[in-house]
Structures are given as C-alpha cells and as structure tokens.
Amino acid sequence: MIPALQRVARSLGVLLVVLALTYAIFYLAPIDPALRMCGKPCSPEDLEAARGFMGFDRPWWAQLGSFLAALVVGRTYGSGDVLVHCAAPCLGYSFQYHQDVTTLIGERFPVTVSVAIGAVVLQSALGIAAGALAARRQGGILDRVVTAVSVISASAPAFVVGLLAVVVVALRLGLLPSGGYENLADGPGPWALHLILPWATLAFLNGAVYARLVRSSMIEQLGLDYARTARAAGLPERRIDRYALRNLALPLTTLVALDLGALLGGTVITERIFGLPGLGALLLDATSTADLPVIVGTTFVGSLLIVLANLAADLARPLLDRRLAVGGRRPATPTTQETSS
C-alpha cells in the first residue's frame, strides 16, 4: 500500500507543477483576458475595472492560490453589489461564456469521452492485430503493407487526414455524416454513426504506434528461447503468439493508458474538423479568444486525466505481472514462468 500511496502523492505533485507552470506561462505570455471584456471602445478605467473584477490584476501566484482554494470552497468574483458566484469545485469562471468552467467542461466531457474510448479501442485493436500479423509474416507482403501504412499514418497531419475523410466518405460518397454530435441518450445508432469517422481518423493516426511496437516486440519475442522451446515442444504457433502478446501486456497497457489520458484531455484538430463540441474544441476557442480561465481549467483537467491514466497503469502493473507485486515471487527468468504456465 505504501508504494501505491507514494505514487498517488507523486501524481498530485505532478499536477501541482503542471498547474503552476500553466499559470506562470500564461501570466508571462502577452495575453490580457480583460481586453476582451472591456467593450468597444475601451477606456483605461473600464479596462482596469475589468481586470479587477476578473481577478487578473493580481500576481500569478496569488491567482494560482485562488484557483486551488476555489476547487475546495468555490469563489466569488467582483465586490459590493456586483457579484458572480462560482460553486465548488470551481475551476474558474469564463466571462466570455458567462458560465463557470466546471459546468463548461462537464457539458463537453461526454463528447470527449465518446471520442476517446472508441478511438482507443479501435486504434489498439487494429494496431495490435496489424503488428502481430506483420510480425508473423515478417518480410512478406502483409508486413510491407503494414509498415508502409504505419509510416504514412504516423507522419500524416491530422488536419489533412480528417479533411480527406470528410470530403471523400461524407461529402463525395455520402456514407456518413460530415460532422456533429448526437447524445448517446438519444440512441446509440446516431451516436455511433456520427463518431465512426472521428474514431477511424484517430485510429489511423495513432494505430501506427501500436502496430510498430507490437511488430518489433513480437519479432523479438518469437526469437527468444522460450518461443523456440515451445515450438520444439510441439506447441501450436497460435499459442506461442499468445505467450508473446502476453509479454507485451505491460508496455501496451502503459501506451493505452497514456493515449486514453491524452485523448480524454481533448483532441483539438479532430474535434474541430468533425464539429464535435468536446474539450479540445473548447480549448482551441479559448486560446484564440484569450479566455484564460477556460485555458487553465481545461489544461488542468487534461493533465489530471493523463496523470490519472498513468497512475492507473502504474497501479495495474503488478496485476498484469506478479513479479512486480511487492513480496511477489521472483522467478529466475521470465521465460520459464511463461512457458510453464
């Protein structure tokens, strides 16, 4: 338990550092959110008043302190008769949306979750299958195709792939909707129909990493002593493949966790191209309109998700490999255990 607690504490530390850096960076950057709220024309008095009202007239570390406190006790902006309340857990208040950031993120999170989970399932399934098949037929046509496609997909810009998918599949062939989002509550059919293209685009872009990792690791595994022994003992190839893949469980879990965390933080370009109202689109808009509370709130939630995913992967490692469990049995060589199981 103690190492687990240590890991949780470390994760919290990482979060705090990310948050402090976000504040410091945006404080140093030439962004003045109050300019957007000053109106046109903007008098110096109005500008100063807007800064004060929004709390941007204080040093960055004081703002960071208020942000952290607001997570627990909420926050009130303004003074006297003019007050805007933001209930705990308050991630800030957007004066452009006239809404608290927690609500804004909460409204968009289901969209991002829908995109992220589907994409991760598809990209890992396709990537692992393609990598394993390529490793089995090393040097063959399938291997060459997988390698070529993974090079293209790993180097293609998301914007180009997404736009191409929309133009060809949705606009030219008319097979799928070109964009938008339907709530899962309104029926899984329309929900999935609107997400197939984003899922496929992300799977194409990210699946290459899985394919390449699995291919090279499988080739390595299949050449190891345990695989040769198993083959000599007359075990079928399919079973040997399973052993090899089991040995890839750890790196793949870490990869899936990191991908999931990153996708849950929002996929900026994909969401924009497919008109999906997720966290990525929110962050993109906030960056262009200097909506600092939204930038900080989404960055915080994004980092929180990556840290949590990482933590989950970390905590799951002993479950996947008992050798990593505290006090667990340490076999002489990993292969012995695998081949004898």
């Binding site: 950057a29 030439p30 962004i31 003045d32 300019l35 957007r36 709220m37 000053c38 109106g39 046109k40 024309p41 903007c42 008098s43 110096p44 008095e45 109005d46 500008l47 008043a49 807007a50 009202f53 902006y77 303004g78 006297g80 008769d81 003019v82 007050l83 805007v84 004066f95 452009q96 949306y97 006239h98 809404q99 804004l104 409204e107 968009r108 736009l163 929309v166 133009v167 606009l171 030219r172 008319g174 070109s178 964009g179 938008g180 989002y181 969401e271 924009r272 191209i273 497919f274 008109g275 999906l276 109202p277 997720g278 689109a281 929110l282 808009d285 262009s288 200097a290």
Partner: protein, 556 residues
C-alpha cells in the same frame, strides 16, 4: 474584442481573412448583390454554419452588427435598411422614427410604437429599453459596444441597475417616450440607437449571466434551445408583428446555428450543395482554397456572393516612432507603397478595390478623393525625392503583422524597397499582436497592417476610433498612435453637428485633413465572399456592411 485584422464584425460574421489567388480572382467577382432573383416563401428551417463556439444573445455583452444574429431575437430603437446599390439607411425599429434631437443636439427623443410585446406577451415599454441600456453599464456584463456609455450624462460613474440605482440621463417619460440626455451634442445618435444595448430587456429577466442564452425575444425569433459548442435553435416568436417591423422579414419558421464548424468542411458541403446544406449558409468568409474552387465550379454560380468594397485595410505608420515623426517621411511611404502588389497578395480583384480615402464606401458623407496620385503601384521616384528632401537615408522600419498576413506584408516590403526603405517583417500570433499593437505602448513597431469596418455606418464610427488621441493604446485602434489636437477638435465638431448635410461636409473635410498628415496608407476596401445553398433566397449584402443581412434571408 475581435481580431486585429478584422476589428469590426458581428459575432457570427467572424472568420478568417480571405486569401484568394490573384490569377483566378478576376473570374467571378460576383459584385455586392443578392444571389437570387425572386424572394423566397415563408417557412422552412434555415441553417447558419458558424465557426464560433458560442453565441451571446445578451444585448449588453454583444458586439453583433444590427443585421446579424442578435437582430433576429432583439429589436432596437432603430435599424438598418441595407441594399446592394445604395448606402445603408437608418430606419425606425421599435421607435416610430429615427429620433428627434433638440436644437442643441444634446437631447434625443424617441417614441415607441404602440402594442409591441416581448415573446411572453408583456409590453415593450420605454422602461424596458431603459433597463436594457442600464444593464450594459454593469461590470459583470461587459464586452459589448460602448459608444452610448461615453455619451450619456453621468454614464462614467454609473455601475448598472442591479443594485437598484438608475441612470437619470435615460428618461422613460411615459410608456412609449424615451428621452436621452447627452453630455455633449451628438449628431449620429440615431445610429448609436441601433447598437445592441438599445434592445429592450424586461426587469424580471432572471439572472444577468444567463440572459445570453435565455433572452426574452422582441424580434421575430426566440431562442428555443442553446447548446454551447454545438447548436442554437431559434423558433418563430408568435408575438412578433411583422407590420411593426421594417427591418425584418421573418422568412424561415426556424433558424439553426450549427456552431464550432470547420469552415473548409462547410464550404465543401455548400459547394457540393449537399441536401443538408441547401437551406444553409456559412457565416464566415469562404476559405482561400474553397474560394478558388467555388469560382471555378459551374454548379456554384451565384451561390458564391462577394460583397462590394467594405472594410478599410491600411498600413498604419506609428507617428510616435522616431523614424516616422516627419510627415515628409510618412508622405514618402504613401508613394512608395505598391497597392497593386498588396491586392494581388490578398487574392486579386475579388479581395477588394483600391482605397484612397479613410471613410469607407456605403457611408453617407463619404467623398471620393486621392491625395497621393492615382497609380495603385505607387511612385517610387517621388518617394525617393521626398525622403531626400527630408534628409533621410537608409530608412529601416519594423512591420508587425499577424501570422496570416505574411504575403501581404511582403508586398509592402517589396514596394518600400523600391524607394530604398528596408522593412523587417515581424509576424506575431493574434494574442501577441493585440498585446503589442492595440494594447502596447507603441515601442514595438513602426508599421502595422490593420483593417477597420465601423460598427455603425456613420463617419464618426469610421474615423474617431482610428484617429482620436483618446483611442491610443489600452486595446483601442488608433494604431498610428496619431495625436493631433486640431484633428481631435475637428472630429468632436463634426460628430456634434446635428444637421446631416453640414455634418457630411465636415466629415469629408476632416477625412482629408487627417490624410494630409499621413498617419496611414489606405490600401484597399476589402470585399468578403460568402457561400450559400441553393434553397437560400434574398441573400443580400448591402453597401455597408460587407456581410449578408440575416434579417431578410428567406428560403425558396
């Protein structure tokens, strides 16, 4: 506040600057006209594709033009009548006329039409217009147009109605009579009364912060549903009476704003005229690649609509920069600039007409003139001789731009190089540009590319924000940092003149007076291109502004 390159625009009339390709640009310059022959019928659902993530239907926080999104739900005291071949006209909206000034121009009286109601059936009274205006002074409802705030007596100390205080200079004399007491004479107050804050708001309209998504409609549509980042649906306001409204036709039964759209994807849908895009248009400009595609696609035809000359694109010269303090040097730059190359870089003829004046086309009071020769390519020899007269050698200047203006900046650079002026281009991202240029102290640039379309079609909204000394820095748009007490006085005098003809003459004179001082080089009056589906009718872009009039669009 908006983009520095598009400082004036309605909320949903926002979009990237059009960068077409010069070689193809001349093919189908559609002119500033409607794309349809006959008016469409009533009914149907119009879709408006927008790149914005959200919309504000709160008049206090909106910078929407009188003819775009907010105008669908909120009427104001006055409105605009736009036409493709005539200057935009000020017409009454909630009021019976466009306002009656007192002899000294300090008091303006408006009378509301009888029998007007909100969507819930309650009466639109003078008190509700007063309340709407008072809300715009509240600190939590900032970000809208503020022209009225500096004109209304006592406005500088007023903090809104939520603490129970009222602004006495807005006098609701009875149910239908409103009297405004100004702190100085002002001739164009009728135009100011068409800005968002002059829309009525009932006192029991709920939480101020939520009004942006749950407004009480006075226009032909009410907000039926609002999902930020996704979709806003407007449905017919049954209490709206078309016989009382000269500005709106209320054609479609409902209007859907599809938010957070990618303009390239939408433009492709519109070019293909897909079934889900036939009763739709894209609120932002057509992106460069799709503009070329649309111009060359015979299926598109008059569904690509290009405005007439609109916003002034200019090269501002920082008059406080040591290198540009001498008017002779600034005049030399007027001759050195190659407007032809600039326009080619911006996309050629479809991107705009050459500009020689400061007041933009479509605005009453504008007078055509050209102080620095008629050749768009400039006169490099004249520029050289002026620099020699000024005793300036090896002039080196920093030109600050936003990243998407690189080609245009290079055209400026090459033009000035012909006169021996070295220009260093410094591209900045939009936030950095805002911080360095409109909000900076002026030490970071000598030259800057800017664009201006006034919020209302009056010469005051055209000239004062760009040249009055009170508009330097702090996020304002006097980018030339031009400070001339004589000009300040002339601007004040012209804006205070109530007689329209007299005012027009004064504005024409002050336009020339400023340009003689050469604080900026007028480059082009830009044209905007829009795409709509085949089911959309009455898609009219008037002489001002260079955006379609949402209030009169119908479906065929």
């Amino acid at each position: 506040m908006t983009s520095p390159r598009l400082p004036r625009r309605g909320l949903l009339a926002a979009g990237p600057v059009v960068l077409g390709l010069g070689a193809l640009a001349a093919c189908t310059d559609g002119g500033s006209s409607s794309s349809s022959d006959a008016g469409g019928a009533q009914g149907g659902t119009l879709t408006i594709f927008s790149t914005s993530e959200d919309m504000s239907f709160d008049p206090a926080t909106s910078q929407s033009l009188a003819i775009t999104s907010l105008g669908l739900t909120a009427r104001r005291l006055t409105a605009w009548k736009t036409s493709a071949d005539a200057p935009t006209e000020l017409i009454p909206d909630l009021a019976t006329d466009t306002g009656t000034p007192s002899d000294d121009g300090r008091t303006w009286t408006f009378t509301l039409q009888d029998g007007l109601t909100f969507e819930d059936g309650t009466a639109i009274t003078a008190a509700t217009v007063k309340y709407g205006l008072e809300r715009s002074f509240a600190k939590e409802l900032t970000g809208g147009l503020t022209y009225h705030k500096v004109l209304l007596e006592g406005g500088e100390d007023y903090e809104g109605p939520f603490s129970g205080k009222h602004l006495d200079s807005i006098e609701a004399k009875d149910e239908t009579t409103l009297v405004f007491h100004l702190n100085r004479p002002y001739g164009a107050f009728g135009w100011i009364a068409s800005t968002p804050a002059f829309a009525p708001v009932p006192e029991d309209s709920g939480e101020p912060e939520s009004y942006a998504t749950k407004p009480v409609a006075s226009g032909p549509y009410r907000v039926a549903s609002y999902k930020a980042g996704s979709q806003v649906v407007l449905e017919r306001n049954e209490k709206w009476d078309s016989s009382t409204d000269q500005a709106r036709t209320g054609g479609p039964d409902s209007i859907e704003f599809a938010l957070a759209q990618d303009s390239s994807v939408v433009a492709q849908s519109l070019i293909a005229d897909r079934s889900d895009a036939q009763d739709a248009f894209l609120a932002s400009f057509v992106p460069a690649a799709q503009l070329v595609q649309a111009q060359n696609d015979p299926k598109v035809g008059d569904r690509l609509v290009t405005s007439g000359p609109g916003a002034l694109e200019y090269l501002a010269m920082n008059t406080q920069s040591e290198a540009l303090k001498d008017v002779k040097v600034r005049t030399a730059i007027q001759y050195a600039v190659d407007k032809e190359a600039y326009r080619t870089a911006k996309g050629g003829e479809i991107s705009g007409d050459y500009a020689t004046t400061l007041i933009t086309p479509g605005i009453e009071g504008r007078e055509e003139y050209s102080l620095y020769g008629d050749a768009p390519a400039g006169d490099a020899e004249k520029a050289k001789s002026l620099l020699a007269e000024a005793g300036v050698k090896d002039l080196s200047l920093r030109l600050v731009i936003t990243e998407d203006d690189t080609a245009a900046a290079e055209a400026i650079q090459q033009g000035l190089a012909r006169a021996g002026i070295t220009v260093t281009i410094q591209p900045l991202d939009e936030n950095a540009y805002t911080s360095e240029v409109p909000a900076g102290d002026g030490s970071g640039y000598d030259l800057v590319l800017g664009s201006w379309q006034p919020d209302v079609p009056s010469p005051d909204a055209n000239l004062t924000p760009l040249f009055d000394s009170s508009q330097i820095g702090g996020g304002n748009y006097n980018l030339a940092r031009y400070s001339n007490p004589e000009v300040d006085k002339a601007l004040l005098d012209a804006s205070s003149t109530v007689d329209a003809d007299e005012a027009a003459a004064k504005w024409a004179a002050v336009d020339k007076q400023i340009l003689q001082d050469s604080p900026l080089v007028p480059l082009i009056y830009s044209k905007n291109s829009f795409l709509h589906g085949s089911g959309v009718k009455d898609f009219v872009i008037g002489e001002f502004p260079a955006y379609p009039n949402y209030l009169t669009v119908t479906l065929g």
